[in-house]
Assembly symmetry: C2
Homo-oligomer: 228 residues x 2
């Protein structure tokens, strides 16, 4: 059975994001996948990259460099426990699903903190092992999110620009950089402004997509896909 | 005298980011500006958007919706004190400078949390007052940051794509959305991989730019600038 890690960032279990997460757990479990959820708000996950992430002495205590310290700590097994736990989950996963409400054209800070702190050099990438040869190659990622703005606002030529523009930093800059292949994003536009019936359809559509997810081909994660 | 708010996110005062911040405080003060710094790590600024941001009763305690709750709390003066403080600083500022190291094609989580929590509906935007009529119009913003990757990697056709691609969510999606006009970004590429002398030149170049900053025209913050 395949292993899936859902990194989930919503404060409210009754939200559409909460329901989308539950639908994914149910559908993927039904398929025989083993599913783990990192419920970031419930975990009170720490988003700040600080000296607290390094157990014991620093490599250079004269001038703190987070990237270097986290890299050195990773190599000697000296990262804080919350990071080691998350890295284990990532290491075991075949597929990472990121489920969140879009905040300011990006992920909520609590999830950005997960990226900043978990995907350390040595674990997720290590020059020249980046992009297609990133250390997390052979894994898949899928960004599943809700928006405040409507589909028209996020159309090409719409006031907020093509939704793909804002996926570049997340899909290419983070996942592709680590060697992870990216499946097409799953976007639920403006659920707060549609009927309860339409929201139910959104859940059904997500469940449907998950049924054939493992047959999907990753996107071609290059500028053409985003900005053609 | 003009008012400047520098939102600064680096753990180490001795870093290049720390020096860039200091140079800005010195140069702008010399010009007669009044400069305020929000030193996010030193403040242990909270990046997580949670129920703790709302003082007193919730508008809807059955189903927590952060955006709605923050909006309602803003209107009745019920946001947490740290947010009220930051909003005052923003309100008074003519120019916002964001100084940070690029983390994963974006700002560090601690700064993303500042955006998520400070720029609430009612204060920074309120439909239809968004983009050119956003509530923070008549202010300027400037993103000043350092990168890990080199200028060649961030060139058009480079492996990490044009640096402008990753500015879209920050400059357009956040600042322009709130009505803020955006000055050209200030990027110091790969300071960790250059000589001490080159780093000093970077500081001098920043000080030089600041001397004539108030004569600069904002960029045309539309898809053409980013993706032409």
């Amino acid at each position: 059975g395949r292993k899936v890690l859902i990194v989930y960032a919503h404060q409210e279990p009754k939200s559409l994001n909460g329901s989308l997460k539950r639908v994914a757990v149910e559908e993927l479990s039904k398929q025989g996948c083993s599913v783990t959820v990192s419920d970031l708000y419930a975990m009170q996950f720490e988003p700040r990259a600080t000296r607290n992430d390094i157990v014991g002495c620093l490599h250079n205590s004269e001038e703190f460099n987070y990237g270097v310290e986290a890299w050195e700590a990773y190599k000697r097994g000296g990262l804080s426990n919350d990071l080691i736990e998350e890295q284990k989950k990532v290491q075991e996963a075949d597929l990472l699903i990121f489920q969140f409400p879009l905040y300011w054209f990006s992920m909520p800070a609590i999830m950005k903190g997960w990226m900043d702190r978990v995907l350390v050099q040595g674990f997720a990438h290590e020059f020249p092992n980046c992009y297609d040869s990133g250390l997390l190659k052979n894994k898949l990622a899928l960004f599943s999110f809700t928006t405040g703005g409507s589909e028209e606002m996020y159309a090409k030529g719409g006031i907020s620009g093509d939704i793909r523009y804002l996926l570049w930093p997340m899909q290419h800059g983070i996942m592709h950089f680590c060697g992870v292949k990216v499946l097409a994003p799953h976007v639920c536009f403006a659920p707060e402004y549609v009927s309860e019936e339409k929201r139910k359809e959104m859940l059904i559509a997500w469940a449907q997509r998950l049924k054939t997810l493992w047959k999907e081909e990753p996107i071609n994660c290059s500028p053409e896909w985003y900005f053609k």
